[in-house]
């Protein structure tokens, strides 16, 4: 299977006041389509920055990022937003659900950007919720769900528009062990049975065990590539 993601000489520099902080240096990375990759490293190593660049949330200071053959480093803000809507699903550590919307409505959010009718949106959201095992909680608001359930709703939201790529930033960082295993199992199913390419940032070696590969970052540089 070919590469879905390719980065060449990727660098990111942040300016904080008068100071320039080089967060990523010369990252060359290939991630195959259908891969499940864990990014590990100490705090401040640049894992989340790399994830943000791959997911099109941020733009590089130098270098190339190509996802599915598309040079996303060359896209403007508007085009990048459209690209994200069509190609990437996001899962965050703190779920980031809309507190005033039901689980169903939260999952429908990405579909508002499509031409689907209201009935079609509802149907697709129901399927996504079914896939994460929360069909019976569709009308519940996030505050009425446990942390693990909220994260599963967030995963349903991430996959509802059927993106090729899922980027997950510490998806189990706020969960107890059992819920974390449920969520990681779900991600593995999405990878193995539904062919989703997953890039996951984690601090937890146990979580990384669910991935096919683990990459380590330290001080903005890739230091090791291990096969799990």
């Amino acid at each position: 299977m070919g590469n879905l993601i390719e980065t060449r000489d990727l660098a990111k520099v942040y300016t904080r006041g008068k100071q320039k902080v080089e967060v990523l240096h010369h990252i060359d990375l290939d991630i195959a389509e259908g891969d499940f990759l864990a990014l590990m490293g100490p705090s401040g190593s640049g894992k989340t920055t790399l994830l943000n660049l791959i997911g099109g949330l941020d733009t590089p200071s130098a270098g190339i990022i190509s996802v599915g053959g598309q040079r996303i480093d060359q896209l403007g803000a508007g085009a990048l937003a459209k690209w994200r809507a069509a190609n990437v699903g996001f899962v965050f550590q703190f779920y980031n659900l809309m507190p005033m919307l039901s689980a169903q409505r939260n999952v429908e959010l990405p579909l508002l950007l499509t031409r689907l009718s209201s009935a079609e949106r509802r149907q697709r959201a129901s399927i996504a919720l079914q896939l994460v095992g929360l069909a019976d909680r569709a009308s519940h608001k996030p505050t009425e769900l446990s942390g693990g359930q909220q994260q599963r709703v967030a995963i349903a939201r991430a996959i509802v528009s059927d993106p090729t790529l899922l980027v997950c930033d510490e998806p189990t960082g706020d969960l107890d062990r059992q819920s974390a295993e449920d969520v990681l199992g779900l991600l593995r199913t999405l990878n193995r049975e539904h062919g989703k390419t997953i890039v996951m940032v984690t601090h937890d070696p146990k979580a990384a065990e669910y991935a096919n590969h683990t990459l380590h970052l330290d001080k903005g540089t890739l230091v090791e590539q291990a096969i799990a």
């Binding site: 949330l57 941020d58 937003a81 980031n96 005033m100 919307l101 409505r105 959010l109």
Partner: protein, 388 residues
């Protein structure tokens, strides 16, 4: 439309704050609806079709100066004049000096000048035949439970009668109604007495009248007729100023108060406060939702979409409160009028006030939403998600 639930949900994220803000907006637009109704009603005073055919002649010096009654015969000779009536201010109070009622001492033909009101022929005849007779407006009669045949004691705030007392006694001989059943006319809330009785009974202003009302044959000739009437008294000690009823009404109202200016000043202060209050609410609402807005951008909402969502939320908030406020004014105005027997005239909110009101709601909504919306639009996803 597909974003409506998103906007609605965001609006009710903090129920108490939204309800309090809505109540403020409602109160502001309730006040606007009632005050603008009054302003419009004052602005339209004297603009009726019948009013266009009437001229008012008063002293050029001041409205409290009187004119000789002998002027009537000369005014009737002016080409284009159909009829001339006259009146004097009496200023009656009923039971309590604060309970003032518009009371005019009028010539016998005064009612003929106003086809907007009607008095039955029998009552009209009784008025002509009774020296102390008065015609009372039906709204007043209803309020005080007066009926034909009742004695009516009134106290003048200016004029004593023959025995030197300011207490006058009249006989109610007829009731003034509006010619059209649903119409409201000023005379329905007033009292008309005989000028002759007034003139004979009080020691002041003998043979003098407060103002003349002239009916012209052709409204388009009003200016010419007015100039001709004023020419009759040019260079005399009682020079006159004649103008259309509308202009006279506007001048009279302006002498009391510039209603338009007062309304604009009050509403300016109210809306300025509303801008600050709603602006603060919107700024808080957006600040609290920084990470949620960042998530919307993350999943593909463009910056312009996010700007639109916040602006729509702000406009929806003001529209909701504003429409409720104006709606309440539309209901309360007529209720208040009915409750006071028409003595407090609160007209229903006219279409023009609705149009101005809705335009104001949109403008305020956009204005208060603009800064938070710009902030949301410029939101950097990475910083916002990281809580920076």
């Amino acid at each position: 439309m597909k974003y409506l639930h998103l906007i609605w949900a965001a609006l009710w994220r903090r129920k108490t704050r939204t309800i309090l803000t809505l109540v403020s907006i409602l109160a502001a637009f309730l006040l606007f609806g009632m005050l603008d109704g009054v302003r419009t009603s004052f602005a339209n005073a004297g603009k009726s079709a019948a009013g266009a055919e009437r001229l008012q002649t008063g002293s050029k010096l001041s409205f409290i100066e009187t004119l000789p009654q002998s002027l009537q015969a000369r005014m009737e000779q002016v080409p284009g004049v159909k009829m001339v009536a006259y009146a004097n201010w009496f200023g009656g109070a009923y039971q309590d000096p604060h309970n003032q009622i518009f009371t005019f001492a009028v010539s016998d033909n005064y009612v003929d000048m106003y086809p907007e009101v009607a008095v039955s022929p029998a009552e009209r005849k009784a008025f002509e035949q009774t020296r102390t007779g008065v015609l009372v407006g039906d709204l007043l009669a209803k309020k005080y439970h007066w009926k034909v045949g009742d004695k009516l004691p009134l106290q003048s705030n200016i004029f004593p009668n023959r025995d030197g007392s300011k207490n006058w006694s009249f006989d109610i001989v007829g009731v003034i109604h509006a010619s059209k059943p649903d119409d409201k006319q000023m005379l329905q809330g007033g009292i008309l007495m005989h000028w002759k009785y007034f003139d004979e009974s009080n020691p002041y202003n003998r043979g003098r009248v407060g103002w003349y009302v002239t009916r012209v044959n052709d409204a388009s000739q009003s200016d010419r007729v007015a100039n001709a009437i004023d020419a009759l008294s040019a260079n005399s000690d009682h020079e006159t100023r004649t103008m259309t009823e509308q202009a006279a009404m506007a001048q009279w109202i302006k002498q009391m108060a510039d209603v338009g200016f007062i309304v604009v000043s009050i509403m300016g202060a109210v809306f300025f406060t509303l801008l600050l209050l709603t602006g603060n609410t919107m700024a808080q609402a957006v600040r609290e939702r920084t990470s949620e807005l960042a998530v919307l951008k993350t999943i593909g909402f463009s910056s312009v979409s996010v700007l639109g969502l916040v602006l729509a939320e702000s406009v929806a908030l003001v529209l909701l409160g504003g429409v409720l406020g104006l709606g309440l004014a539309a209901v309360l105005g007529p209720l208040l009028s009915a409750g006071t027997g028409g003595m407090v005239s609160m007209p229903p909110v006219p279409a023009s006030s609705w149009a101005i009101g809705v335009a104001l709601m949109l403008a305020i909504g956009l204005l208060v939403g603009l800064l938070p919306a710009m902030r949301a639009m410029r939101l950097n996803i990475v910083d916002a998600l990281a809580g920076r």
